[in-house]
């Protein structure tokens, strides 16, 4: 009896002497045929005999004979390992003797379909992925949002569909790392079905990728997405006819509304089961000369069994003719391929001589010729008498002179509404937390636990949580700008400015994403083709103000800028962008040679954003924010509080109790005056205690570095704690300032406390710590200095450790310099 809970493995995972039962053979075409002929079919038992000295190839025993497979080939065979080997021990039989439970596992495996979503950027792959799988992955109406693969599964029609969402690419050539990555995923992971998602509003360009998939001889289904756009335009498209011509079933979908998704996956199942009448392998006819070259090269390739088992020979021939260097390297890694590469070189020379063009251009032209031809047969444009809506809007939005002011206006509106609309729920939450604080304060008797909960946890976490509405409003607007397609216009508008300063316009996309969170923005730099551009963009992404920094701005602006709050906030963001441009320019001159790549970002049509997508976006952000409150902010608040609360046995500079007693006994003072003196005495005592606490000692240690910026030690400590996450700056201020001043029973309003805060030691003792100048300097410091740990880790991963360390130091040094300049120069005037 075989235990059914055995996991599915790849054959390559088995160790010497281990046995497995084949459940599924991945891949298709020549590889599958050859492997089946060798006996690797469902239900057969395979035994690992031995690994070669370099772990490759591996010798297996199947059906009584010994067969050697490369590790990559063994990777394509899925097996289950029987936990007890009754089959062989009792029956000594290696054939298809299977128990019901084993059959069940094999059937389950066979009913699992691995699907990969590929397509041009912004064709709606992630929207389709989200709808099909019920996931909430980030989408936007511009290309390059998906920077990683995402995997999820769901069941339909008795099948388990494992769906992988790949980054958007215009082709699978070798232009960018993403293109290479998608190609590698398809050729190495060999998904059962590749779904090519096509944007209906730009079919011709999208079909270029389809033509490359046709060359690869893989099983495909086309999702003709955003089909409603095409219908709205009034164009007519006989896509069923196109499907017959290219041998790939096409399903019209509107992923944002879920239309056609079920039909799409039913078609995928049909193609997988080879019962779809349309699915067949069709060749693109590249014309006599190219076809002859392909044919000669293909014959040479077929002589090399290993190569032709790994890649479809016609596809190999086409890629070699395109002189695709990454592919040539891959071919060269196979044994005995020198002749093939020589033939390829001769054919390329002959074609280039004939057409007087580079070979890759010749093939791309032929592909577009094919696409043009099939579309002429199947696609009819509606005659347009007027400019299309998107173009009409763009006349104003991307206008040479109006575009930039409109962009600034939108940003100002967004920030102004973040304040004005956000202030109402902010006050409600603030008041609620104040009442909670009062309630807990009344219930719990005085003591350290009371202080921890009221001053540490509520003061710290409560101080941050009140900014949730502001964050949500900001994300609402960012989501609107992304989904409508305006973000792509913003990049277009900024490109003019950035290009003049030597920065790649496409870099603006990761920078825009940085407004949400810097980590995915760092990952999004993968959309840039040149490594130098990627690193340069990574270096300036931290200057884009992420949403975690927003609470600090909202707090300080609310407290010290009673008017023009939106404008002040806008200025912070704009300074971030301006610094990013300047820093990029300087770094480009210092570190990187000038190398320009054309700006290839397209402007997608304007679309009406869906409420669902916007709400999902906001909901996800709320969850992230609240999770952060319950974990890192809570932990930081408790630790900061403890460091500020202990030690308790402080030696005070004077006897406060004796002074209090003498005030009480002083009959010359009225009760009101006595109360004021006693209250001040209490504050002075608490201030001295805090100064001598552990956190006070740390704070005083860093005072020399921050005093020239006008900061007190509490700001310094808050800034240090912000290294982990920027919201901790607020919670630290909440704990440090809350502890010192008597808490208002109805509010935890930190801004009032900041307004009252005075220096308790040093040369400026008694002076107010904060004024608009210090607040502005602090906001700029928070904007620029050390991005959080997660961002540094992301830079280390995407670039390397040296660039991560460099980012840490340069941002902090720049922050200090800017805050110093603002404070020192500003002090001369204010």
């Amino acid at each position: 009896m075989i235990k059914t809970e055995t996991p599915t493995l790849n054959l390559s995972n088995l160790v010497n002497g281990e046995k497995g039962i084949i459940t599924k053979v991945l891949g298709h075409g020549a590889f599958r045929k050859r492997i089946s002929e060798m006996g690797f079919v469902k239900g057969k038992t395979v035994t690992v005999i031995k690994n070669a000295p370099l772990q490759d190839p591996i010798e297996y025993k199947i059906m009584g004979s010994h067969v050697s497979l490369r590790r990559s080939e063994a990777n394509m065979i899925e097996v289950i390992v029987p936990l007890d080997s009754v089959i062989n021990e009792k029956t000594n039989y290696n054939g298809t003797f299977l128990t019901d439970s084993t059959n069940e596992i094999i059937e389950k495996q066979l009913k699992t379909i691995n699907v990969a979503l590929v397509g041009n950027p912004n064709s709606g792959k992630t929207t389709l992925f989200n709808f099909a799988t019920g996931k909430h992955e980030r989408v936007g109406n511009y290309g390059g949002v998906t920077v990683d693969t995402k995997e999820a599964h769901f069941d339909q029609g008795g099948y388990r569909l494992n769906v992988t969402d790949l980054p958007g690419t215009y082709s699978i050539s070798e232009y960018s790392p993403e293109e290479l990555y998608v190609r590698k995923h398809i050729s190495e992971n060999k998904p059962d079905i590749v779904v090519n998602v096509i944007d209906s509003s730009n079919i011709e360009r999208n079909l270029f990728l389809t033509s490359q998939l046709m060359d690869m001889n893989i099983r495909c289904v086309v999702a003709l997405n955003m089909y409603d756009d095409l219908e709205r335009k009034g164009d007519s498209f006989n896509y069923k006819e196109l499907a017959k011509i290219i041998g790939i079933p096409i399903v019209a979908t509107v992923a944002s509304k879920g239309m056609g998704i079920k039909e799409l996956f039913n078609t995928i199942i049909d193609v997988y089961e080879s019962r779809n009448p349309i699915a067949r392998h069709a060749h693109i006819n590249y014309g006599t000369n190219i076809e002859e070259s392909i044919s000669r090269l293909k014959n040479e390739i077929k002589k090399n069994k290993k190569l032709s088992d790994s890649f479809y020979p016609r596809y190999t021939a086409i890629k070699l003719l395109e002189a695709d260097s990454a592919f040539i390297d891959q071919v060269a890694s196979f044994p005995d391929t020198a002749d093939i590469l020589l033939v390829a070189e001769n054919e390329i020379n002959s074609l280039e001589k004939e057409y007087k063009e580079k070979s890759d251009t010749i093939i791309a032209d032929a592909k577009y010729g094919f696409i043009h031809g099939v579309l002429r047969e199947t696609y009819k444009h509606k005659e347009l008498n007027k400019i299309q809506t998107s173009q009409a809007i763009d006349v104003i939005m991307t206008h040479k002179y109006l575009g930039f002011p409109i962009f600034i206006l939108f940003l100002w509106l967004m920030f102004q509404l973040t304040f004005s609309v956000g202030s109402y729920p902010m006050d409600w939450i603030d008041s609620g937390i104040g009442h909670l604080s009062g309630l807990i304060g009344d219930i719990l008797p005085a003591g350290s636990l009371h202080d921890l909960i009221v001053d540490g946890i509520i003061g710290g976490v409560g101080g941050v949580i009140v900014f949730l509405p502001n964050i949500l409003i900001l994300f609402f607007f960012i989501s609107l700008m992304e989904d409508t397609g305006y973000m792509a216009r913003a990049a277009f508008i900024m490109d003019k400015l950035m290009h003049k300063m030597g920065l790649h316009g496409k870099s603006f996309i990761p920078l825009i994403m940085g407004f949400g969170c810097n980590v995915p923005a760092i990952m999004a730099t993968r959309t840039l083709e040149i490594r130098k551009d990627r690193i340069l963009t990574m270096l300036i992404v931290p200057l884009m103000s992420c949403s975690a920094r927003l609470p600090v701005y909202v707090l300080l602006i609310s407290a010290f800028f009673p008017t023009n709050q939106g404008l002040v906030l806008l200025s912070i963001y704009m300074i971030g962008i301006l610094l990013a441009v300047i820093v990029a320019l300087v770094f480009k001159k210092i570190f990187f040679a000038k190398e320009d790549v054309p700006f290839v970002m397209e402007l997608p049509p304007y679309r009406i954003p869906t409420l669902k997508n916007t709400l999902v976006h906001m909901w996800d952000k709320s969850l992230q924010y609240l999770t952060k409150m319950g974990t890192v902010i809570l932990a930081a608040s408790i630790i900061i509080w403890a460091l500020g609360y202990f030690p308790r046995d402080i030696e005070y500079s004077k006897d406060y109790d004796k002074e209090a007693a003498s005030i009480n006994l002083n009959s010359n003072l009225t009760d009101d005056v006595k109360e004021t003196h006693l209250s001040q005495l209490e504050i002075d005592k608490e201030a001295e205690r805090l100064e001598n606490s552990y956190i006070g000692q740390i704070g005083h240690f860093i005072v020399p570095a921050i005093a020239p910026l006008g900061f007190d030690w509490k700001i310094g400590v808050s800034i240090i704690t912000g290294l982990a996450a920027k919201e901790i700056v607020i919670s630290s201020m909440g704990v440090l300032y809350q502890a010192e001043l008597s808490a208002d029973e109805n509010t935890v309003n930190l801004k009032n406390k900041l307004q009252e805060q005075v220096f308790t030691s040093g040369p400026r003792i008694g002076e107010k710590v904060f004024n608009p100048l210090v607040a502005y300097g602090m906001m700029l410091f928070i904007l620029i200095y050390f991005p959080c740990v997660a961002v540094i880790a992301a830079i280390k991963k995407e670039a390397n450790g040296n660039w991560a360390i460099f980012t840490m130091f340069y941002t902090t040094a720049l922050a200090w310099l800017i805050a110093f300049t603002v404070y020192q120069v500003g002090s001369l005037f204010l």
């Binding site: 990683d148 790392p177 999770t627």
Partner: protein, 58 residues
């Protein structure tokens, strides 16, 4: 006194949580995964070596 004991336990538990999180992030780094699963990061859920097939940029 009870309050002091409870505070002591809470602070120790918090320090333990921070140390554990730090150890996990170091372990991930050793495994070549720089993602610390930071709670505020929008990629934290999928940024695990199990679900993310990383793009290897040369």
């Amino acid at each position: 006194m009870i309050q002091d004991i409870l505070v002591f336990l809470i602070v120790i538990a918090t320090l333990g949580y921070v140390a554990y999180s730090f150890a996990i992030s170091l372990k991930k780094k050793k495994e070549g995964d720089a993602c610390g699963g930071c709670s505020g990061c929008s990629l934290s859920e999928k940024c695990s070596s199990l679900t993310v097939d990383k793009i290897n940029i040369k």
